[in-house]
């Protein structure tokens, strides 16, 4: 755990000391703020369902920019070998990188709490779906960050890592669309692989434990495969 704390501090400093993080966060909040304002003025409805869907899309588009350099840059600068020869387990390296990026994304989401505060000041929002919506976007972010780390561990090229992350997330998003082309039980598998299928009920206030399980287990799988990749080097 002490190893994790040391590595995490290093990764947090690297993440929050990078202008990329602030650029991504500013773009994220600009698009989100714009959407929130226009949606609120048009619908006058005190909920954040549109915003959560927007966060879902922006996470898929922007998080790859945050994760692409995690391993790819270390490998390009030959610092990965140095890190791997240090007396720390590979799993701690992966976890530290995951937690650092995840903390940044959660920080961006926390800034978006201001929208809920605005709704509360001018209306009487239903806090249940807002809470479950935050749970949904946090689970979703954990999965996309984990996929981003896995892709970054597979390639030296940052652009390729970002493209692979985005491509994988998009494939998961639309996985259910191809289900009718597949024979059973693969069609059921494709339907249940759908990212949006597990995300959508949660933002409306209907939380199935199986939906949370989907995000958590896939994130664990991605982190495991990233670690295995480092172990095998």
């Amino acid at each position: 755990m002490k190893t994790l704390a040391v590595l995490l501090r290093k990764e947090l400093l690297a993440t929050f000391g990078s202008p990329i993080a602030y650029t991504v966060a500013a773009v994220f909040l600009l698009v989100l703020g714009y959407t929130f304002s226009l949606t609120l003025f048009a619908t006058k409805v005190a909920n954040l369902i549109y915003i959560f869907h927007q966060m879902y899309v922006l996470t898929i588009l922007l998080v790859p920019a945050l994760t692409m350099r995690a391993f790819a840059e270390e490998r390009r600068h030959d610092t990965l070998e140095l890190l791997l020869t240090a007396p720390v387990g590979e799993v701690w390296i992966v976890l530290a990188k995951f937690l650092a990026v995840f903390a940044l994304v959660v920080g961006m989401y926390l800034a978006a709490v201001v929208y809920a505060v605005v709704l509360d000041a001018h209306g009487s929002p239903d806090w249940g779906p807002i809470a479950s919506g935050y749970l949904a976007v946090v689970c979703h972010a954990a999965l996309i960050v984990a996929i981003g780390l896995l892709m970054s561990s597979l390639t030296e090229n940052q652009v390729v890592a970002a493209a692979l992350t985005m491509g994988t997330a998009l494939m998961l998003w639309f996985a259910d669309s191809v289900s009718y082309l597949l024979p059973p039980p693969l069609d059921v598998l494709a339907i249940n692989l759908s990212l949006i299928g597990h995300f959508r009920p949660m933002v409306t206030g209907s939380v199935f434990v199986s939906d949370i399980c989907y995000f958590v287990t896939l994130a664990l799988l991605a982190l495991f495969l990233s670690t295995r990749r480092l172990v095998e080097r």
Partner: protein, 498 residues
């Protein structure tokens, strides 16, 4: 095991699966790569395949022991109590196949609700079919519309086109019925028609729309109807039918209930004899009678023998009324009777008193009454002038009675309400009015547990904003917040350049 305990156990499955997965992954991390060439690749692929299989197994296990939490204030994702009660009480297998379109939010919500209902009782099997993906299956069931539930029980198979879990639950009840009770509606005296349009049937004059005493003289009233009540009765699996009281002839044998809703022309004495024979044969009768209608004396005597005395005049209640109309009696408290148990607010636009008249062999209960400050006005237009002299007390508006008219007669049931408008299309859907009249019919059918139908109303939480607030919200969320983050990034960039 209660459903709450079951939810907790299902949540434990989730925790257990995640813990098991983490242990397996931790163990797999200790495997060291060895060999070269295809052996190394085989080991690598084997580990990946095992990890995928373990992840899939964990998801399947949790999906099969899934727990659900509804975070909404309106419990929008929790099956209605009526639907849950019906499903829990199933004693024989029922199959529900729901045909929907995956892209339709209401259809998906209905599928979720049916999945939750199916967990309540193993006798209910449920399958969701996306028509777009499986048109052949829809064709085999004869389904042509999205959001159609095909309900199959041993006795019946029927279709219900809806996204409301209550309507599907009522469809299940209909599919399970061994017989379809007939609810007869009396005709021949200008009663409310059950084949009426379901929307409001006023013709507006120069006067504004009004149901109170001021409006009576000016608003031309077309005949109200019972179309909404008829539709609700059909949904409950009952058969509505018209029936006429004909002197010398008995009512149809299969009339499980006779409803006489707002007769407007006088009965003849012989009709009371027809009704008496119906009572003696164990009939069930509901009379909804408006103020100002002169009840034929022999009929009034029969009703009194059966347990209810119909009074004259209209009740005025200065304390408990709906909006500002003192003749529109609002009821918040009820007697503890199957018709009125656990009912919410209901209202009666212009009601006459109906008192219980118990006697040996007859049990009569006043179902609800006006407040202690109410009085009877004989002239509806000049009721305020009568307020000074009329005695003030609570006046019952409705009576439920049961018993036998004579020792050798069969037991009957009767409900008399001193108002008919509350059940008409104009007022049926509002507050608990539908619940009261449907519960009355259920009691008369000896089916006290039959659920009533009231469509759920979703109210979106809205915000009201001034121009200045709109401007400030935009500046805060679209300019200041991202701007502050951008400035922080600029600061970091400058700091790193030093």
């Amino acid at each position: 095991m209660s459903s709450e305990q079951s939810e907790w156990l299902d949540a434990l499955w989730f925790v257990g699966c995640i813990a098991a997965l983490m242990v397996m992954f931790a163990a797999a991390l200790r495997l060291r790569a060895y060999g070269a060439g295809w052996r190394r690749w085989a080991l690598r692929m084997g580990v990946i395949a095992l990890a995928l299989a373990a992840t899939l197994a964990a998801n399947v296990a949790v999906y099969r022991h899934d727990a659900h939490l509804d975070f909404t204030r309106e419990a929008a994702f929790t099956p209605s109590r009526e639907a849950a009660d019906i499903v829990r009480s199933l004693r024989e297998p029922v199959q529900v196949v729901y045909f929907y379109q995956k892209g339709n939010a209401a259809g998906r919500a209905a599928v979720t609700m049916l999945e939750l209902l199916a967990r309540l009782n193993s006798n209910l099997s449920f399958e969701a079919v996306d028509i777009d993906r499986n048109p052949g299956r829809a064709g085999a069931f004869g389904v042509q519309l999205y959001n159609t539930a095909v309900i199959a029980a041993e006795t019946h198979r029927l279709q219900v086109v809806t996204t409301d879990d209550r309507e599907i639950a009522l469809g299940i009840l209909r599919a399970l019925r061994r017989r379809q009770p007939v609810v007869c509606f009396a005709t021949g005296h200008g009663e409310y028609d059950i084949d009426n349009f379901e929307f409001h049937t006023h013709f507006e004059g120069s006067h504004t729309h009004s149901h109170n005493s001021e409006g009576m003289g000016l608003v031309q009233m077309q005949q109200h109807g019972l179309g909404r009540l008829r539709r609700a009765i059909e949904k409950l699996g009952l058969e509505p039918r018209k029936a006429e009281l004909r002197p010398g002839k008995s009512l149809p044998q299969d009339c499980a209930v006779l409803v006489d809703a707002n007769p407007r022309t006088p009965h003849i004495p012989a009709e009371a004899d027809v009704l008496r024979r119906y009572f003696e044969q164990g009939g069930s009768y509901m009379l909804l009678v408006e103020p100002d209608f002169a009840v034929e004396p022999r009929l009034a005597d029969l009703i009194a023998d059966a347990g209810a005395r119909i009074g004259e005049g209209v009740i005025v209640d200065p304390a408990e009324h709906y909006f500002t109309d003192e003749q529109m009696i609002a009821i918040t408290h009820y007697a503890n009777h199957p018709v009125t148990r656990a009912q919410a607010l209901s209202f009666y636009p212009g009601a006459r008193p109906v008192e219980p008249a118990p006697r040996d062999g007859v049990r009569a209960v006043a179902l609800f009454a006006s407040s202690a400050r109410s009085y009877i006005a004989l002239d509806r237009m000049r009721y305020r002038e009568e307020a000074a002299t009329e005695p003030k007390r609570a006046y019952p508006l409705a009576v439920a009675a049961e018993g036998r008219l004579s020792a050798d007669a069969r037991p009957y049931r009767m409900v008399v309400v001193g108002d008919a408008d509350f059940a008409s299309n104009s007022f049926f859907p509002y507050l608990a009015n539908a619940d009261i009249v449907l519960a009355g019919i259920s009691w008369l059918l000896h089916e006290e547990r039959l659920p009533t139908l009231k469509p759920p109303v979703e109210v979106l939480p809205l915000v009201t904003l001034t121009n200045a607030e709109v401007r400030w919200i935009f500046i805060l969320t679209a300019i200041l917040l991202p701007g502050a983050v951008a400035c922080a990034g600029l600061g970091v960039w400058l700091w790193r350049r030093r």
